[in-house]
Subunit: 163 residues, 2 copies
């Protein structure tokens, strides 16, 4: 894993273990990169319960409970789906914080309305679900890493705010 | 991702797209490394539906349907749990092939009976579920990569056999 991402995962672990916060993730375009980074750090099982890589729409429905109507109305890369993924992960894993990521990593799959790099990151906590929109500008690998970084940084900030 | 793993993911993609085979994964000790590697290859959405990172036992039960009694009787790192994880992933994602990985990556968590490096890899197909036992000898990062490699190589071989 990229060292900068692992350093963020180490910070997140310190925040969560110190405050008794549990975490899960729901990943689409990052394909498991956030979960892989988090679990590269020994001791991560103390706060990280797991994740879902919901690459296909069917997986978003079955594994995370995203409504078919939401996917049909807004598309897989949308604020609405990011919110539903985060809420679904928080409920199914039974955690304090769940982050979600859905985006167009590229090189294919972009459109005028949803260009390569468009990414939504969601965060579900006891206070509800928030979503942020990113427009990334790298290649596939860089976009995935930037999206993972955004999710990890948001989890750290939220964990510190809870504490 | 390590280049050798990505090269295996590219081979798997070629095998699966050419034969119309769909794939999912259920990962414990590898923490999402197999899913991340698979999805680093553009076009992977053509055959890879997704994965579950079932790091906690509760996630193995809730997300993959592993029986609590199986976990209690054999422990999370066992042939029985690897079988149940692969079967659960195949059913929930509705795929042709599902691989599972559960092991003691280290540096902590080892015991006389289940030392660091003990890893079970499962593979569920239409013919049933098989499991293999590995005793890896590296550090945490090396053990995770070796386990991911074993799963990818097995998926490739099974895909070629189906075709």
């Amino acid at each position: 894993m990229p060292g900068a991402l692992v350093a963020l995962a180490e910070r997140l672990q310190g925040v969560c273990l110190g405050r008794g916060i549990t975490v899960a993730v729901a990943e689409s375009c990052t394909g498991g990169l956030v979960a892989t980074t988090i679990t590269e750090v020994p001791g991560s099982s103390g706060y990280f319960l797991g994740g879902v890589v919901s690459y296909a729409n069917s997986a978003k429905e079955t594994l995370l409970g995203v409504a078919q109507a939401t996917l049909a109305a807004h598309g897989a890369v949308s604020a609405q789906v990011a919110v539903a993924m985060a809420a679904g992960a928080r409920a199914r894993f039974g955690v304090d914080l769940a982050a979600s990521i859905t985006g167009v990593a590229g090189p294919d799959g972009g459109s005028d309305e949803k260009p390569v790099g468009l990414t939504y990151v969601g965060l579900a906590s006891g206070a509800g679900v928030e979503v942020r929109r990113l427009q990334l500008s790298g290649d596939r690998v860089a976009n995935r890493e930037a999206a993972a970084r955004a999710a990890l940084e948001w989890l750290i900030a939220e964990g510190e705010a809870i504490g």
